[in-house]
């Protein structure tokens, strides 16, 4: 009895009204705005009563899964529980305007200041900006810092190359490009880690930076990290740390202590603010002292009992975003850090790693291939048993009520299933998941037709992506 789910526009009826703003009485808009400046016809927004709006979005949400509904082991995304306490905290700070007199927002500035400090402490960096709006935005900021640093030393023209492992997230090369760099890929070794010799060979006076995430996207800790960074530093190369995987090592190791010069964090991953269906997030950037002069302005500083915006950074790269960043996300992360403290963060990382290793072991027993079968960190990459495709396993999982892992990433592993269970999932959830994965493997091998047509029980089934790309329909239009 599933049919098409109508759009807002199809539910619209001419003249229908929802919520009504205060009436302004008789105003001569044309006189105030200039008749020539006015819109000739109203925007064709949907016309709905309030109940229709509520039903539409309520039912849309029932066609959607999230961490709140199901296990969501999406590798690289850290889909952990998003505490409702953090939502309650954020709601206390919604009615602040960014241009208020700073004396009237001392509480907000204190949060920014303290969060800068906490993140510096957690990562081992010297200075932090909270301005970037997401991880990739943080990457861009960080890479611009490196650019500015080299420029300040007269090496701006010369150092144009950024080395990025072939296992890197796509945003790393893309951010390097936007920061004006040329990207060179470094192959991973057979052990899944950066090949130190290849890297050494690639280093040179034209290299500005290396972007790494550690543990890397295979979930493996780069064991030669100290050596690697040392080699790079000797050549004047800066080290960028993609913090998307920080959930693996909080309280166990700090990128700063490894030698990284600049990092970004994803507050929406590691610090458990909700992903909101794709955002908003927050991508703070931490820098070592030598890069701090270039940070975007403003940051927040403390003078005695007062908190002030600090614009005093003459070498700044400039601004990356209007205002001060995604403050609402910062409040959530701040609340989270205050609740967990050092011990809670450390325990969270340990249990994230425990869950991943447990699942790795159990899935291997269940017939999945683990291409790099060693101690992993918060995630690992598996491959389906012979004859099965990652996509089909993912679609079959939907019928069992699970959100699938990340698939076909990292690119260096064929048929990759990148699995990150996070620390907020229980042993029995992992066990049930393994049972289902085993059943999918068995049934899929016995009955290829079955698996290639999964899912069966979702609101819609496999969708025609080819035609969506060939003939995209990117907005609703009335039937002609």
């Amino acid at each position: 009895m599933k049919g098409d789910f109508p759009t807002l526009f199809e539910r619209s009826r001419s003249g229908r009204r929802g919520t009504r703003p205060p009436s302004v009485g008789d105003v001569d808009l044309a006189a105030m705005l200039g008749a020539d400046n006015m819109r000739s016809e109203p925007a064709r927004l949907p016309e709905l009563d309030e109940l229709s709006v509520v039903r539409h979005y309520t039912n849309l949400s029932r066609r959607q899964v999230g961490v709140d509904t199901s296990f969501y082991p999406l590798g690289s995304c850290t889909m952990k529980y998003n505490p409702r306490a953090s939502e309650a905290a954020a709601a206390l700070f919604t009615e602040l305007h960014p241009y208020q007199d700073p004396e009237s927002v001392q509480g907000a500035l204190q949060i920014i200041y303290e969060l800068q400090e906490y993140l510096a402490e957690i990562t081992g960096m010297d200075a932090v900006t909270l301005q970037p709006a997401a991880g990739a935005h943080g990457e861009l900021t960080g890479m611009m810092l490196i650019r500015a640093y080299h420029e300040s030393r007269g090496e701006g023209e010369q150092r144009r190359v950024v080395l990025v492992p072939d296992s890197a997230h796509g945003s790393n090369p893309a951010s390097s490009m936007m920061a004006g760099f040329v990207v060179r890929e470094i192959p991973s070794g057979a052990d899944g880690e950066v090949d130190l010799n290849e890297l050494r060979a690639a280093l040179g006076p034209e290299v500005a930076a290396i972007m790494l995430t550690n543990p890397n996207t295979l979930g493996l800790f780069e064991r030669k990290i100290l050596e690697l960074i040392d080699a790079a530093h000797q050549q004047g190369v800066q080290l960028y740390y993609d913090g998307a995987n920080l959930n693996a090592i909080m309280g166990w190791a700090r990128p700063g202590d490894m030698g990284f010069d600049v990092i970004h964090l994803n507050l929406h991953k590691t610090f458990s603010t909700p992903h909101g269906g794709g955002g908003p997030g927050s991508g703070p950037v931490g820098a070592k002292a030598h890069l701090a002069p270039f940070l975007p302005v403003p940051t927040v500083k403390r003078e005695g009992e007062r908190y002030l915006f600090d614009y005093d950074r003459p070498q700044t790269i400039g601004r990356m975003r209007s205002f001060y960043g995604n403050f609402g996300v910062m409040v959530r992360a701040y609340t989270y850090i205050r609740m967990l403290g050092a011990a809670g963060l450390k325990r969270s990382s340990a249990l994230a790693v425990l869950n991943a290793n447990y699942l790795r072991k159990k899935l291997k027993d269940a017939g999945y291939i683990i291409p790099h079968d060693r101690l992993c960190k918060h995630e690992f990459v598996a491959q389906p048993p012979a004859g099965l495709h990652a996509l089909d396993v993912a679609k079959a999982l939907l019928d069992y009520g699970y959100h699938p892992p990340t698939i076909y990433f990292p690119l260096i592993v064929k048929e990759a299933l990148m699995i990150e269970p996070t620390e907020t999932e229980s042993q029995e959830t992992l066990d049930e998941y393994v049972t289902v994965m085993a059943e999918i493997a068995r049934r899929g091998q016995e009955d290829p037709d079955w698996i290639s047509h999964t899912p069966y029980s979702t609101p819609v089934r496999r969708l025609d992506e080819v035609s969506a790309n060939r003939h995209p329909r990117l907005r609703w239009k009335p039937e002609e």
């Binding site: 919520t19 302004v24 400046n37 927004l45 402490e121 601004r319 209007s322 609402g328 101690l375 907005r475």
Partner: protein
């Protein structure tokens, strides 16, 4: 406290499964010299203590719910349905909808959002959102440069100064040139563009609040082969001629006025809409309608070949996480109000702002600097530095008089009003300013 479910026994059992006995062993492959730093962080708090702490921090701020501050963020009224619907866990805790079969909620909501933005701007295609208005401007300009293969940008000083700063940062990185044309009499001065110019940027209503007539700029830009990037407050589009109708190629702006709280400036969302011919250059996520194997309508992410996870260093942008939930709040807001409701909100804001301007400009020592017509914001010259006046007003519980940077003149302050202000609110501000300036 933390949010892990593991009991001590479970931890031991799981470790045993791995042949281990201690959580430390999970980190045996890390260099010992950097292992287990002692993090100096405040002691952990339970939820109750954490929320009392946060409440005490919140109490150190004055609410700006009745503020007259402006500049891309304003205190509009948000109907209760918006937060009620957006706080549903499925919207809040989903990731980017990569698995469309179980993500039709978010996908369809984006598709509808894209449609509404296209309608408001009078352009063909909107993406799913960008970070904020400023970064949306930067992305819009980069798009224009890619399309025109040119490396110079001309921007009117009427564009929000912070937006121009962000633009400058982005352009510096890729080595593009940024030229600024100063305002003349509060309006964008006429200009001609040479053939190095790939993008021409104006804002309407401009930063000082004035409604511009962009026709000649747009004509001149197009004559020289440049694309026009048009910055505008989406609420103004309820009443004003949309960028598409003026002939702009790209429209960008900040979506906060549409159903998003001020949030001290974030999160909010950036929107971007373009003409069809620019589609393949458009950064960020896009949702397309399609059909499933049973012929049912559904929605999927489309044209991902523009994006970082496919195209990597050749992507149209690095954007990954965007501002989805904020954009969906705007969609719910627009759905709740409808075209007439939105026009009513805008008209109320205009009427209140004009009333306020008339009252304030009649005070001795205050001068209206923004030429008419203006929309819901306007600029006054004050007899004292705006930051001082703002601070004095704040002491009286009034949030107003955004300082306007010196590049626009001395002692300028931006004021705005919205449908949320009552006549009493206007009167309080008037009295407050009288007191402060007395």
């Amino acid at each position: 406290m933390d949010f892990t479910p593991h009991t001590p026994e479970e931890v031991q059992a799981m470790l045993a499964e791995l042949g281990l006995s201690d959580l430390r062993q999970l980190f045996a492959d890390l260099p010992q010299e950097i292992l287990e730093p002692q993090l100096r962080l405040p002691e952990p708090l339970g939820e109750q203590e954490a929320l009392s702490l946060l409440r005490s921090l919140a109490a150190k701020n004055a609410s700006a719910e009745k503020s007259f501050l402006g500049g891309a963020v304003r205190p509009h009224f948000i109907p209760s349905v918006v937060p009620a619907l957006m706080s549903r866990g499925e919207f809040l805790t989903a990731y980017t909808p990569y698995q469309p079969e179980v993500s039709q909620g978010v996908l369809q909501a984006i598709f509808e959002y894209q449609t509404m933005i296209a309608e408001l701007t009078g352009l063909d295609v909107s993406n799913a959102s960008l970070y904020d208005g400023a970064s949306a401007l930067a992305e819009g300009v980069l798009l224009a440069l890619r399309q025109t293969r040119r490396m110079a940008v001309v921007v009117s000083q009427g564009v929000h100064p912070e937006y121009r700063q962000v633009l400058a940062t982005y352009l510096h990185a890729v080595g593009a040139e940024l030229r600024t044309i100063e305002l003349a009499g509060g309006l964008t001065a006429p200009a001609e563009f040479d053939e190095t110019v790939g993008a021409v940027v104006l804002q309407n209503p401009n930063f000082l609040g004035a409604i511009e007539n962009p026709s000649s700029w747009i004509a001149a830009a197009h004559a020289s082969g440049a694309l026009v990037v048009y910055v505008t407050d989406p609420l103004s589009l309820a009443l004003l001629k949309p960028p598409g109708a003026w002939g702009a190629d790209v429209a960008v702006g900040d979506g906060q006025p549409l159903g998003n709280p001020m949030n001290f400036g974030g999160p909010q969302f950036g929107y971007i809409a373009v003409r069809d011919k620019l589609l393949r250059q458009l950064p960020g996520r896009l949702v397309s309608e399609t059909r499933d194997v049973d012929g049912r309508r559904g929605y999927v992410l489309a044209l991902a070949a523009r994006e970082q996870h496919i195209r990597r260093a050749k992507a149209k942008s690095n954007i990954t996480t965007n501002s989805q939930l904020s954009a969906l709040m705007a969609a719910v807001y627009l759905a709740a109000l409808g075209p007439q409701g939105l026009a009513d909100v805008a008209a109320a804001a205009v009427a209140k702002a004009h009333a306020l301007a008339a009252q304030l400009a009649s005070l001795p020592g205050l001068e209206l600097v923004t030429p008419r017509p203006f929309f819901n914001e306007f600029t006054l010259r004050l007899p004292a530095p705006a930051a001082v006046v703002r601070a004095q007003l704040a002491k009286r519980g009034l949030q107003a008089a955004t300082p306007v940077p010196e590049e626009y003149g001395d002692n300028l302050a931006l004021f705005s009003a919205t449908e949320r202000h009552s006549d009493d609110d206007l009167r309080s501000l008037l009295d407050g300013i009288k007191e402060v300036l007395a």
